[in-house]
Symmetry: none
Subunit: 413 residues, 2 copies
């Protein structure tokens, strides 16, 4: 087999076209989930699909499916894709590359009139990033569970918008899409994505075969003390949650990541109340994003975080409440599918490295209901969730070619 001859110019032009929807001055993308810009990107993809005669579907969580029929419509389809939503200060490639590479594969099959045994479907999952509405991977999670958790109905966005309303408006924005139930049988799921880390770039290798995804936990930490006048309240009379938080964080930053190269500890949000320059806060609230390939180590680090905040809070006469708001166990992708990706990369003549994903992806949830795997491509300086995120055109093309070669192996057999 001689790889998979995609239309490279078309793929690169599409990446630029979609990057303009929510494009930022610094060259990044701000296209957060279920916003008007997210809807604009979905409508554009659906329009391109209809122009090629593909059928467009939408499920109740607004996952968008584009189906190219196979010889045997009764076989479960092969699913390929990613997501179209971005971080507030995100890049052009996170999600968009995987979605548009999958669509390029579908168009190439059409261009070359390649008939597949089973249907091939491109998917754009809803709210993978989880920054506007938590948790992330809502679309793939609801697909895997064939249900939308009731707890999501009342979610409010960081911008105040209601989840139920924004979801409804997004569904309404694609009236031509055929409705489809949540979750249906698929033969396998493949996703191309940027590495979001520096290892492939440092090794000079264009294709990463992702063996699994490290576990992630999100903690909501609230430390409460007593507000008082900044000028009149002596140290002895202070119960200052900001002091507790700074001491606990300094300690945790010094221990968790320096002590374990596989551990990740990130505080992405922090705020305090009442929020007056001249008032000691009575409440400091922050989030912790904790990651590790081992569930046991995640437990150890979560306990360390709880104990560290409690210890410092007790000294200050403050209280703490640490709540686990998101918990995703580590995932291992199936060996046979990894072998297929390895062969597909060889079909195209690309060197590969096997690696673990530090980020979670929709493939993690799809892997619960169907064999799933991912193809990583290098990104400059490992930068992601950043407007400076960049992927070399050759690497975008390589990822798409390997995806296409894998589709030939999985869908035409």
């Amino acid at each position: 087999m001689q790889g998979f001859a995609i239309n490279s110019e078309r793929l690169l032009a599409r990446l630029q076209h979609f990057a303009a929807i929510g494009g930022t001055e610094k060259g990044g993308v701000n296209r957060q989930a279920l916003t008007a810009l997210d809807r604009e990107a979905r409508r554009l993809l659906a329009k391109l699909a209809r122009e090629r005669g593909f059928v467009v579907f939408q499920d109740p969580i607004a996952n968008l499916f584009i189906r190219r029929e196979g010889k045997n419509p009764d076989l479960p389809p092969l699913l390929i894709g990613s997501h179209l939503d971005s971080q507030p200060a995100g890049g052009k490639f996170d999600g968009a590359l995987g979605t548009l590479a999958a669509f390029e594969v579908l168009e190439t099959l059409e261009d070359q009139e390649i008939a597949t045994e089973r249907a091939v479907e491109v998917v754009a999952f809803t709210n993978e990033e989880g920054c506007r509405f938590a948790p992330g991977c809502m679309g793939s999670l609801a697909f895997a569970e064939a249900a939308i958790p009731d707890s999501w109905r009342d979610l409010k966005a960081t911008d105040g918008a209601g989840f139920a309303e924004e979801l409804a408006a997004t569904l309404d924005s694609l009236p031509e899409a055929q409705p489809r139930p949540l979750g249906f049988p698929v033969s396998a799921y493949l996703e191309v994505h940027i590495e979001q880390g520096p290892s492939l770039e440092h090794q000079g290798i264009p294709i990463g075969v992702v063996t699994g995804i490290q576990g992630t936990r999100w903690l909501d930490v609230v430390v409460t003390g007593q507000t008082a006048h900044a000028g009149t309240t002596a140290l002895a009379y202070r119960r200052d949650p900001m002091l507790t938080v700074s001491q606990a964080l300094a300690e945790l930053y010094a221990s968790i990541m320096p002590g374990d190269a596989e551990a990740r500890f990130t505080v992405g949000r922090i705020s305090c109340l009442p929020g007056a320059v001249n008032a000691i806060p009575d409440t400091v609230r922050l989030t912790v994003d904790l990651r590790h390939p081992s569930t046991a180590v995640l437990d150890i680090n979560e306990n360390l975080i709880r104990k560290t905040f409690e210890t410092h809070a007790n000294v200050q006469g403050c209280g703490t409440a640490v709540t686990r708001i998101f918990d995703m166990a580590p995932a291992q992708f199936p060996e046979p599918l990894l072998a297929t990706l390895q062969e597909a990369a060889s079909d195209c003549g690309f060197a590969t490295a096997h690696l673990l994903s530090g980020a979670f992806h929709d493939a993690l949830f799809l892997n619960r209901v169907a064999p799933s795997a991912m193809i990583f491509v290098p990104c400059r300086d490992g930068l992601s969730h950043n407007e400076a995120e960049h992927v070399e055109p050759d690497h975008c093309i390589a990822g798409c070619q390997v995806l296409g070669a894998a589709v030939l192996r999985l869908a035409t057999a």
Copy 2:
């Protein structure tokens, strides 16, 4: 000398009477500056003054003056008072106690037909709190500078009202008050106020002789790094401003206040961008409220703060920007006047403690143009700017008696 026999029942009744103007369900007061309720309180005080035959004046910033003439009308008057405006969720005593205690002194002089050499005037300064229109202490600041800063003209209230309009309406609400220019010679200024801190209550001492007001600086601190993916970015590739901030704050909390009982270090606001749970922030922003009685120490601590953030930022490859957004120099009240207050307290047989004011007051600005000093009385649990603010009746009476005794020493001589 045997102290100063005021009419205690009258003083306590007056405090209740004024507390009803803007009284809240929780027993506090919401009588913000230049509102209809503020005007109602001013009109009541002016009415009570006219009933005693005192002359009422108003200057262009609506500072209200009540004059009891002295034997020698040409001598600069002795000024005593405070303010009538309150915080949105304020208490019954902050400002009102000092104003009504001063008026009680004036009435007692009248009751006892005590002739003073110089006139004694009660003042109610405009907008001390600064919550509806910033800055605070507008009345005393304009009095001290004998001018209203042009920048105030276009101020808008938190409730949308214009400063110029509200000031004009307030002036118009007292047509019987005689107009008076801004700033005129006064022999001295004395103010009774609640401590707004716990030290007198903890020491069981009824009278605080305030030696001065500590200086205040507000700093805006911005630490910038690089946003990146929380899961994929290894420690070596992170430039995390949250790490810088937690280390710097932990160090500053451990050094500034523990090392100097007079120092105050408060972080009242903090936020970060982009503000996603799973993204390393690229910007953390916070405010520092720094206080000390010594300008030299304020300089030292401000430099320590700048150096500490810079040092940790450099290690993380982050940048820092520290901007001074507010700077009020410390005030030292003149020794002779403090001695007079000490003697006045002895006249009344009250124990005293010398202390420094952590909050700023109208006396801070009056002290720039005339010898000024303050008498503090204890408040329960040090609570202030709070509807639960409470002062024991005996302490209200004690503060008023010491003020009266000091007036006898300063105005009759």
